[in-house]
């Protein structure tokens, strides 16, 4: 298992952001759905090893991220796209991706080619030497995706990756996700249920820090039959599960 969580809790003061989540995941694309404040980002930050849990046990890539040497090894094999990427306006696309490839301790000799592959995979070849301050929001999101996949990670964590992408780019991105999920564990946190329906083999729905549903997109769709609110079947399943969890 690339991800094994046991009774994970994370609180900020009196606010319990993540409340007893247990999860085991192998390779594949896993969708994390939920409303704002459900705890998705906190959970992803714990998986990205930037936020320790208040309690519970985490094992990533068969290692304990609580130990510094293991954490460093995990981070070498990790790709992470935060919700708020943050970027350096004076860097070019290639410089930014190279910088993070080096901080991930990729071998220097392998970096240029890995960066070129990542840039091409997100279709930013024409903007490779452009300064980040000149790019649109959607392009910056693709830069973020490129830095996340540059080290060919075994564990890829994407927080709202399709925010700012146009419909055509989102379709291409879902295809990229499916390919990456053949070998790696890809966890995608999103508000957009259509991303989950087409790209994810499994999905979890979070509400108030807990996982209130786990199954395939088809199973989530089935929950909405005759219930729920939404234009698409999957949206109706989403709202039906959330309503049941809140009641």
């Amino acid at each position: 298992m690339n991800v094994a969580l046991t009774e994970i809790h994370r609180s900020f003061g009196k606010n319990e952001a993540v409340d007893g989540v247990s999860l085991e995941l192998g390779p594949g694309v896993f969708g994390l759905l939920g409303p704002n404040g459900a705890g998705k980002t906190s959970l992803l930050r714990m998986l990205a090893t930037v936020l320790p849990p208040s309690s519970g046990d985490i094992r990533l890539l068969d290692r304990d991220p609580g130990r510094p040497t293991a954490r460093r090894e995990i981070r070498r094999r990790l790709g992470y796209l935060p919700q708020s990427l943050g970027y350096y306006p004076s860097f070019t696309v290639v410089e930014f991706i190279e910088y993070f490839a080096l901080l991930k301790e990729m071998p220097s000799a392998a970096v240029p080619k890995a960066v070129a592959v990542a840039v091409e995979r997100v279709d930013l070849g024409a903007k490779a030497k452009a300064k980040l301050r000149t790019l649109s929001g959607g392009m910056l999101r693709r830069v973020g995706i490129a830095q996340a996949i540059v080290n060919d990670p075994d564990l890829l964590l994407l927080d709202e990756p399709t925010a700012g992408l146009d419909p055509e780019q989102r379709v291409q991105f879902r295809a990229l996700l499916r390919t990456l999920g053949e070998t790696a564990t890809v966890i995608v946190s999103t508000h957009l249920v259509e991303d989950v329906g087409t790209a994810c083999s499994e999905v979890a729905l979070m509400s108030a820090g807990k996982i209130v549903f786990r199954g395939t997109p088809d199973e989530l769709t089935a929950r909405g039959a005759g219930h729920g609110v939404g234009d698409a079947p999957l949206e109706r399943g989403y709202s039906a599960v959330l309503s049941a969890a809140r009641s």
Binding site: V50, Y80, L85, S90, L103, K104, S108, D123, A128, L176
Partner: protein, 239 residues
């Protein structure tokens, strides 16, 4: 976006040549940023190409600070506070404090969360950026001191105050998650220190030239470093 099995432009193979692979190899060479001499040396010394890149890219991240430091040092070289006492000695610690406040930390570095998820420790990135700021500040300060004709031995007198004031600025910046707050705290602390040094020694540069002040500077630097270590913990920075 393109499938990883076909990276590059025209991915078709013709006469045994995979054009996609060829394109990627060419792009890699065309796009790559070739490390300069300083970066290569730093990579060997630090045993980390990532930290070396963090070191050499720091000035580009702090360009406004760098420009203002050159201007301030230039003016400092031309103005003296007394016979053989250039203003550089007094502005050097303050200039470094401002640079450090803007260098790194939660709420200050836009890519801090991403950096925190990387194999190279974010503490090492912070230290590397601090070294870059100190090195630039020292070189510019030495040049300004030399230009002003001041004794070089005394020039190093501002290194310890610089460390203390910079630590304070960084601690305030990280605790408040605001570079402006950090820079303000550093500048205010330095003005108070300079005025206190003047009233104690009768000289405007007393805060730099008085060796008795060095232990308190070291103690202040250590205390502020501890505050930085506490305030920049990821669990606090991501709340």
């Amino acid at each position: 976006m393109i499938s990883p099995n076909e990276p590059g432009r025209p991915a078709s193979a013709q006469d045994g040549v995979d054009l996609g692979r060829v394109w990627t190899s060419v792009a890699a060479q065309v796009w790559r940023r070739r490390p300069g001499r300083i970066e290569r040396t730093a990579a060997r010394l630090l045993r980390s190409p990532g930290l070396a890149r963090a070191l050499v890219t720091t000035p580009s991240l702090l360009l406004p600070w760098l420009i203002s430091t050159v201007v301030v040092f230039g003016a400092g070289a031309l103005i003296s506070t007394g016979p053989g006492q250039p203003l550089v000695w007094l502005v050097a610690p303050a200039a470094a404090a401002v640079g450090i406040a803007f260098a790194y930390g939660p709420g200050i570095d836009s890519a801090w969360e991403l950096s925190s998820s990387c194999a190279v420790s974010h503490w090492m990135v912070l230290l590397t950026r601090a070294v870059a700021v100190f090195a630039l500040n020292s070189v510019l300060g030495l040049l300004a001191s030399a230009a002003s004709g001041a004794a070089m031995t005394l020039t190093f007198g501002w290194l310890l105050p610089m460390a203390a004031i910079s630590s304070l600025a960084l601690a305030a910046a990280v605790a408040a998650r605001s570079a402006v707050v950090g820079a303000g705290a550093g500048l205010a602390a330095w003005v108070i220190t300079v005025l206190a040094g003047q009233s104690a020694s009768g000289q405007f540069t007393g805060s730099v030239t008085n060796a008795h002040a060095y232990p308190p500077y070291l103690a202040a630097a250590a205390c502020c470093a501890a505050v930085v270590a506490y305030a920049a913990r990821p669990e606090r920075g991501l709340q």
